[in-house]
């Protein structure tokens, strides 16, 4: 399935061949509440039949507003979420999301894609 550009063009979303959702935030994107809402709408659109694990590629994201982070506290079509980043900045951003808001499904931060995919697959 081809990636679908979410509203605003700051992210893309696809279902991988392995059966997980892959949400990619563009490097340097400053994620606002409407971007998060659009991304979540895309996730829910793809998960009408069943909830799927989701890999969120957030490496080199510029910033995430507080309101945008709060959106991900709302239950969505994802059954578990792996946040994938590289830099210390990604780690800080991810952990602020994890620490300040209570995620609606199991959520963890990874810096290794294989580790992240293993963890997502472990649930299925």
């Amino acid at each position: 399935m081809d990636p679908v550009a979410a509203n605003g063009g700051k992210s893309s979303l696809e279902v991988s061949e392995d059966g997980y959702l892959n949400l990619r935030w563009l490097p340097g994107a400053h994620i606002q509440v409407e971007d998060a809402r659009a991304a979540m709408a895309g996730v829910n659109q793809l998960c009408q039949e069943e909830h799927l694990p989701m890999l969120v590629d957030m490496a080199a994201v510029g910033s995430v507003s507080r309101e945008a982070r709060a959106i991900w506290s709302i239950p969505c079509g994802a059954s578990r979420i792996a946040l994938l980043g590289k830099s210390p900045v990604d780690r800080v951003l991810a952990n602020f999301f994890l620490g300040v808001h209570v995620p609606p499904c199991p959520t963890r931060f990874f810096t290794s894609r294989p580790d992240a995919l293993d963890w997502l697959q472990a649930s299925s």
Binding site: G28, V89, L93
Partner: protein, 512 residues
């Protein structure tokens, strides 16, 4: 130092500056990260995010505090409103009324228009409560409150002072407007009030006090109250404007009350006795005890000048007790001195309040017994107004008095709103026809017929008539010709001191 190292230092310097601003309370301070995304940028972003969270928590806390404060303020306002409101009618209570007067008095310094106060007291509310119950009484009070609100302007304050007493504070009005409002209030109370199936009236006596700049706030209500009191005296359902003379009258009344109290307890009260005679023979059949007050500095004061004060102050009970004891004791003294003249009655006046005196029966019984006087020799004179408006309790007392053997007499017949039918149902033996009915009887044949008819009516009801106020032999003769058996008046004798009574009885006025 490499350029890279130098830029790192610069970011750290920005970070320090940002933290200093945050520490100073500027929670909107942020530090711009670089594109590198390294540890220093991670720290910068972490600090930004922490500042954002802190800012959010502070804002949220401030909002909550503001919300709670507003809620507390609303609750406090509501409590204050309730504390200043009469629960039954929703009108202001005395506390709020006083506040409004104080405010209006303060405001009048600039405007020159001092506030005015109306004090209203319903004229017959007790009767409504007594006969229809407190539920009906409350309904009437609520209706009165509605009418008062409708009668005044939006800027005026209507209050319930308690019981059946209301007040209105009028601000920023001319004398003419104030009196207009008073008349409008009175007019709104003229229509009857429907309570269930009953129709009642809730008219009021209204006192008005128009303040002047500098008029003390507390004096305004006092003086409106004094004026209301005057309105009551002057016939109820009237409006009376306060005049400073009234204050003098109140102070005078207060002084008299105090003096009267000590007079009753001391030896300033005295009884005089006016004969009641049999018209045909001139024989004295009774003596009416009449009270006099021998005031040390003002001389002898007639009852007309102090009985109403005694009634208002409750001293009437003390006075009545004294009259009973002294009158019966004197009757015993006459018995001892002249056992051969022991046939006449002693007439004593009984007021409405005394009829409800809890120890009245026992007091009469004990007094008669201790002086060895037969109950049949005592006649209690009760005004027809009291008898007409008697309640269940009064009815019971009257019955018990009759059972005791004491005679009951309707006093002042013809001065109130007499009902012909009540003559037959009252527990009385004799009727005293008021002197006003015979005043021009001799010169007015029509009045003569009228008196004759009344005498026949009394006779037909099985009662015995005594006509009072007989001043001439012609009146005595005419009344006797009409079939009247007994009379009283100056013609037969002025009120006498006790020492002169026996001589007078022995030398009666010859019959015509």
């Amino acid at each position: 130092m490499s350029p890279e190292k130098g830029s790192e230092d610069l970011r750290l310097q920005h970070l320090v500056d940002g933290i200093v601003r945050l520490a100073a309370g500027d929670l909107e301070a942020r530090v711009e990260p670089s594109e590198r995304g390294d540890e220093i940028d991670a720290v910068i972003i972490g600090v930004n995010l922490l500042a954002e969270e802190l800012d959010h928590i502070y804002s949220d806390l401030e909002q909550r505090v503001a919300d709670r404060t507003a809620m507390l303020r609303r609750t406090q306002d509501e409590l204050e409103r309730m504390a200043k409101m009469d629960a039954l009618t929703g009108l202001a209570n005395r506390t709020l009324l006083n506040e409004r007067i104080q405010e209006a008095t303060a405001a009048s310094v600039e405007s020159g228009l001092a506030p005015a106060a109306l004090v209203l007291d319903l004229d017959s509310f007790k009767a409504i409560n007594d006969t229809l119950g407190h539920g009906a009484g409350d309904a009437v009070l609520v209706e009165v409150a509605t009418r008062l609100r409708a009668a005044v302007r939006a800027t005026d304050t209507v209050a319930r002072l308690g019981g059946d007493e209301f007040a209105v504070v009028i601000t920023e009005a001319t004398d003419e407007e104030i009196l207009d409002i008073a008349h409008r209030v009175s007019a709104h109370l003229q229509d009857s009030v429907q309570v269930g199936t009953e129709t009642v009236w809730a008219r009021a006596s209204i006192g008005v006090c128009i303040g002047t700049p500098g008029y003390p706030a507390e004096a305004l209500m006092r003086d409106a109250d004094i004026a209301m009191y005057q309105a009551k005296i002057q016939g109820r359902n009237t409006i009376q404007l306060f005049h400073p003379d009234m204050l003098d009258a109140v102070q005078e009344r207060s002084r008299i009350t105090s003096e009267l109290r000590s007079a009753i307890n001391g030896d300033e009260m005295a009884l005089l006795y006016q004969p009641v005679v049999e018209l045909a023979s001139g024989r004295v059949t009774g003596l009416e005890a009449l009270v006099r007050w021998h005031h040390p500095s003002r001389g002898t004061i007639m009852p007309d000048s102090f009985i109403h004060i005694a009634e208002e102050s409750g001293l009437i009970l003390e006075l009545g007790r004294w009259v009973l004891h002294e009158g019966v004791a004197q009757l015993m003294r006459w018995n001892t001195t002249a056992p051969d003249l022991a046939g006449f009655h002693l007439h004593i006046n009984l007021s409405a309040a005394e009829l409800l005196r809890s120890d009245l029966l026992a007091d009469i019984q004990d007094t008669l017994k201790s002086h060895g006087v037969a109950p049949q020799r005592l006649v209690l004179e009760i005004t027809e107004t009291v008898l007409m408006s008697r309640g269940a309790l009064e009815q019971q007392v009257l019955g018990s008095l009759r059972d005791l053997g004491v005679g009951l007499q309707i006093d002042d017949f013809g001065t109130g709103y007499s009902s012909i039918s009540y003559l037959r149902t009252l527990p009385a033996d004799t009727v005293k026809v008021d002197h006003s009915l015979i005043q021009d009887m001799c010169s007015n044949p029509q009045q003569q017929e009228f008196v004759a008819a009344i005498l026949q009516l009394i006779s037909a009801a099985g009662l015995t008539a005594i006509v009072e106020g007989i001043e001439t032999p012609e009146q005595a003769a005419q009344l006797q010709a009409m079939g009247c058996l007994y009379g009283q008046g100056y013609y037969f004798g002025y009120p006498l001191v006790a020492d002169k009574v026996l001589d007078h009885i022995r030398t009666p006025v010859p019959p015509r």
